[in-house]
Symmetry: C2
Subunit: 275 residues, 2 copies
Amino acid sequence: MSNPADRLIRITDAKDERIADFRNIRERDLVGRSGRFIAEGTVVLRMLARSRRFGAEKILVLENRVSGIEHILEAFDPDTPIMVCDRKVIDAIAGFPMHRGVLAIGRSDPPQDIAQALAGLKDDALVLVCSGISNHDNMGGLFRNAAAFGVDLICLDGQCCDPLYRKSIRVSVGAALTVPYARGGGIGEMADTLDGAGFQLLALSPKGVRAIDDVKPKRRTALVVGTEGEGLPESLLKRIDTARIPQAPGLDSLNVGTAAAIALFSIASALGRVR
Amino acid sequence: MSNPADRLIRITDAKDERIADFRNIRERDLVGRSGRFIAEGTVVLRMLARSRRFGAEKILVLENRVSGIEHILEAFDPDTPIMVCDRKVIDAIAGFPMHRGVLAIGRSDPPQDIAQALAGLKDDALVLVCSGISNHDNMGGLFRNAAAFGVDLICLDGQCCDPLYRKSIRVSVGAALTVPYARGGGIGEMADTLDGAGFQLLALSPKGVRAIDDVKPKRRTALVVGTEGEGLPESLLKRIDTARIPQAPGLDSLNVGTAAAIALFSIASALGRVR
């Protein structure tokens, strides 16, 4: 096993070309779209090290953080450059105080398409379908909650934002790197594909017909959630089963990530998938 | 009824003394501790207008937003100054682009103490007890979810942050102004007070003995949640009932607001309080 301490590259100048990718990470948040993304923090770096779907192009660590994460650094390919710097450099490149002091440029293959991803699932499968989730915090929360309740696959329609955006990964506590996901186009087409693969589709909506805890989920269930403001399109709500979360009167305004968590908890419990 | 359009005060200079309270609201976030707080956005302003516990000292609205919220402005005391300005002024005072364009300085009485607040509750009561919640987003999320499931009272221990911090109010979607809350000291003492008032105390913890959906809640139930990192103190977990949220193995990391939402949903459903 290579000792990462032996191959640390010391960076003393924020303008050093070897850390150009890290400069101004606020503005580079959207590198996900190009198949590259920014991972920050120890928890996320550990998940990146373990991942088979994602790799690291380079790592930048604050000098006083190195000794605490050597076991994580060891897990990366020996060719992965590991650079260290002091606080002045890391704050200068980030454009704001980077308290965490652990950064990596991650690399991802293009996401699978829905049909391809569904083909890889077992007979018992729980899928979360997201339509029009454009807020990065919500996207991160959905991944975090999906991980907690053992979701096998997340399907994103064409209107969803990128789960590999820096803030999404952070809010997901790294689940954006662990829960498999696929990208489709329109929500109607995705519903057809899931239906064809034997999934019971269940739309979560304040206007849902049944209370979520009255639903008897099937072995293959796909929970569909939409954007907070608009909700799911009427055309979809008309053709698939719908469920609502019982709430105090006069309110229908749970955050979409929270609503999904309650529904996933209810479904996963009913199926005996969690205990 | 006074027509608010007749009494608008036009502000053309960001340095105008009449809007001094609004200047640099990022740094003034903590006015809550002095009994004053910043409310932003139409939804929150509407709740402030309706509230009996909170009042408005002054209101500042972007000129193009006035006509859409006249019905809300009418509901405030006619002595409340309503000022209007253009985007240049509002962006200059906030120190960042204030897309919402609706701001108020709210005023609050000191929060009730726990015993006083409990004395006002009905025989059937659902209480949420928060210990050491120091993150303002989490505090806002807890209020939002408490509102959704009809919580009658939130008890905050001395380590909790202020729910009237600007970001908490915003994340709560105004529920920080609608759900009654009280402030206590140590969590142990609060547990004694609740116990004395006939409440069944139930601590939510990844180490909880029973699954939350196996709990048979009593007519007076107090759900206790702690900070995400440390969790609730062992001394408390030893003396009261504990429950956990069933999850996929290897994870115990739901966000505290999300975990509370699931537990409140489960308790409120079991008690028939929501439908």
